[in-house]
Assembly symmetry: C2
Homo-oligomer: 335 residues x 2
DNA sequence: TTGAAAGCGGTACCAG
DNA sequence: CTGGTACCGCTTTCAA
C-alpha cells in the first residue's frame, strides 16, 4: 500500500543504499541518479518512515517536554521558546502536563523513554527525585528549566527567584510600605514558590520588619485563589497595605478582590505580581510585576539540551537569566 | 548497552514471543512465567522500545496537533482538552504551531506523516487546502476543530461563529447601541474571523442599522492591536458607542485604549469580547463576552479522532458545540 | 559512486 | 501455553 524505500529502489533501478543516500547524504550520489530517484519518490509520493529510520539510527529527532500545565500563560510562553528552538534545529516536540502531580511526571518520563525521545526538558514541574533517578539510570540527556536541582548533577536554565522576590519587597518598602503580605504558590508543589517566599522573608529581615505568618497565604496558582486569599487578607483587623503575589494570575485575582472590597489598587493598596504576562500591562491599574524571561528560558534550554544531545556540549551547563522589576501603577507611595 | 527483548528472553529462558506476550497480552501467559519475565525485566530495568513496536504494528499511539499559536490562552485551553483526552486513551501528543503561516502548517503535516502519527488534529489553523489534499492522499485520519471545512469531507468539531457574533450585536442593540464597531481578526488568516464579521453584518442588517466599513478594523489577535484599533475608533469624529471584539485579547487592548482616552467602559462605552478567557472575569470592568467551549472542543475532537483511528467510528462526524453570551459589566445601557 | 546484506528491536503467524 | 521465524522499513559497514 504505502510505498517504501524498497519500492523506490526497484522503480529507480538502484539499491536501497542509494535511495537512503539521496535522502541523508545527497552529495554522495551522482547528480543523475539523484534526480532519477527523487523523481520516482515524487511520482509515487513516497513519505520517509521516521520510525524505521529512528530504529536504525537510534535517534528520533524529537524532544519530550514536561510542564505543569499549559493553561498558565507563562508556561505557554516558555513552551513557545522551546518549540521555536526545537523547530529551528529540526526537532519535534512531545508535550505532556503533570498538573503538579509527581506521579504523572514519572509516567511521562517513562513514556518518553519508551518512545525514545532524544532528550527531555523538565519545565517547571515538581521534579520528583524518582523521575530524575529513573532518567539518570537510562542515561538519556535531560535539562531542567525554572528550577535548580539539588543532589543531581543536572543541567539547568533558571533565574534567581530569591533575588527577584527581594526586589519586589524592596520596592514596596521604598514606597513607604511596612505591612506587606504575600500570596504564595504551594511550597509543596514547586521549589520556586518556596524561594520567592524566602526572598520575601529575607527582604523583610533586611529592612527590620518582623515576619508575620498570618500575612502569608499559600494557594494554588489561580485567579480564584488570588481573589479568595486577598479577600481574607484585606478583611483582617490590621490589613496589609501591600501584597506581593507569587505570580500574575494570583495578582489578577487580588486586584479583583480589592475592587470587590472598595479598595483602590495603586491608591490605597499596593500589589506586585510575578511573571509579567502580556495582559498585565492592560490590567486596571497596570500591574507592577517581576518580568521573567519565559520564552528565552525555553529557547536557551532547548538549544542547550540539543547541544548535549548532539554532543556539542560536554559539561553540565548552568544558566541564570536576568529578571526585571517592571514599574507600572499598582503600587502607591504611602504617607 | 540497553537491554532488549532478546536479552530478557534469554535471561528468563523463554522465547521473544513470550516476552512480547507478557507485555501485550499478559493473560495469554501462565502466571508463573509471566512473573519470571516481569522480574527479569525489572532487574535489568528494561524499557520497551516503542519505535520497534510501532514499526511492526504500524501504530505509534501518538497524535499530531497543529495550532496557530500556543500563547493565545484559548488555544492553550483547547490544547489541554486534546491532551487530557489523548492521555486518558493512551496516546501522546506531538505539538506544533503554525503562527498562521500555511507553509508551516504544510511542513508540520509532512513531518507528522513521516513520524507516522496515528492521526492529526488541525486546531484552528488556516487550513491551507494543500495540507488537506496532501493528508488525504496519504489516507491517515485527521480532524478539524474551530472551523468547518468546505470542499473536503472532513470530520470537524466547531461552534457557530456567525450565530455567536450575532448574539453579541443583538445584545448591544438591546442595550440601546446603534453605532457599533468591530475589531476583527484577519480574514486572510482564519475562516472564523470572517464568519464573526458576517454575523456582525447580518445582525446590523436585521436591526436596520447601515453597515459602515470605517467601523470595522482588521488586525492580528494581540493586545497591542486591540489597543491601537480601539484608539483609532474612539478618535473618529463620530466614535462608536460600542465595540465588538473578535476575541478577548483584542478586547483587553480596547479596554486599555478607552482608559487612555478617558472613556469609561461599562459607562459610556460598551465592549464585548469573544472566547471568555479566565482573566476576562477579573478585568476592570469585568468583560461581557462570548464563551466558547475551548477545552470541550479539544477533548471531543481528540476522542472523535481516536474513535476514527481505532475504527470505532465509521462515518465522518460533525459536532457543533454551544456558545453563550456571558453578561458582565462592560456594556452600559444607553439613553 | 554503488550494491549486498546484516542488523535495529519488536510483532505475529504458524506449529507443536 | 510456548517457540521459531519471517517480516516492519531504513541504516550502515564492507566490497566491488
Amino acid at each position: 500500500m504505502t510505498t517504501t524505500m524498497t519500492d523506490i529502489a526497484r522503480l529507480a533501478e538502484v539499491s536501497m543504499a542509494t535511495v537512503s543516500r539521496v535522502i541523508n547524504t545527497p552529495e554522495r550520489v551522482t547528480e543523475k541518479t539523484r534526480r532519477r530517484v527523487l523523481r520516482v519518490m515524487e511520482e509515487n509520493n513516497y513519505v520517509y518512515n521516521a520510525l524505521a529510520g529512528g530504529l536504525s539510527k537510534s535517534s528520533t529527532r524529537t524532544l519530550g517536554l514536561i510542564i505543569p500545565t499549559i493553561t498558565n500563560p507563562i508556561f505557554a510562553v516558555s513552551t513557545r521558546g522551546v518549540q521555536k528552538a526545537a523547530t529551528s534545529r529540526g526537532y519535534s516536540l512531545l508535550l505532556g502536563s503533570t498538573e503538579y502531580e509527581p506521579q504523572l511526571e514519572f509516567d511521562l518520563v517513562r513514556l518518553y523513554l519508551e518512545k525514545r525521545v532524544d532528550g527531555i526538558i523538565f519545565s517547571g514541574t515538581p521534579l520528583d527525585n524518582r523521575s530524575l533517578d529513573y532518567i539518570k539510570t537510562r542515561g538519556i540527556p535531560y535539562l531542567v528549566t525554572w528550577e535548580t536541582v539539588d543532589g543531581h548533577e543536572a543541567p539547568y536554565v533558571t533565574f534567581n527567584n530569591v533575588k527577584a522576590a527581594k526586589q519586589a519587597v524592596d520596592y514596596f518598602v521604598s514606597m513607604g510600605h511596612r505591612r506587606i503580605a504575600m500570596i504564595s504558590g504551594l511550597f509543596a508543589e514547586t521549589g520556586r514558590a518556596r524561594k520567592r517566599w524566602q526572598g520575601y522573608r529575607e527582604a523583610l529581615a533586611y529592612w527590620g520588619i518582623p515576619y508575620e505568618d498570618s500575612l502569608v497565604i499559600q494557594k494554588d496558582y489561580s485567579v480564584a485563589s488570588g481573589r479568595e486569599a486577598a479577600g481574607r487578607l484585606l478583611k483582617m483587623k490590621q490589613p496589609p497595605t501591600a501584597i506581593f503575589c507569587g505570580n500574575d494570575i494570583l495578582a489578577y485575582g487580588a486586584i479583583a478582590a480589592a475592587r470587590d472590597l472598595g479598595r483602590q489598587v495603586g491608591v490605597d493598596l499596593g500589589i506586585i505580581g510575578f511573571d509579567d504576562l502580556e495582559m498585565s500591562a492592560v490590567m486596571n491599574p497596570p500591574l507592577t510585576t517581576i518580568r521573567i524571561p519565559g520564552q528565552k528560558m525555553g529557547s536557551v534550554g532547548a538549544n542547550a539540551l540539543i547541544d548535549i544531545v548532539e554532543k556539542k556540549s560536554l559539561e553540565t551547563v548552568h544558566y541564570e537569566l536576568e529578571t526585571d522589576l517592571i514599574l507600572r501603577s499598582s503600587v502607591p507611595r504611602l504617607g
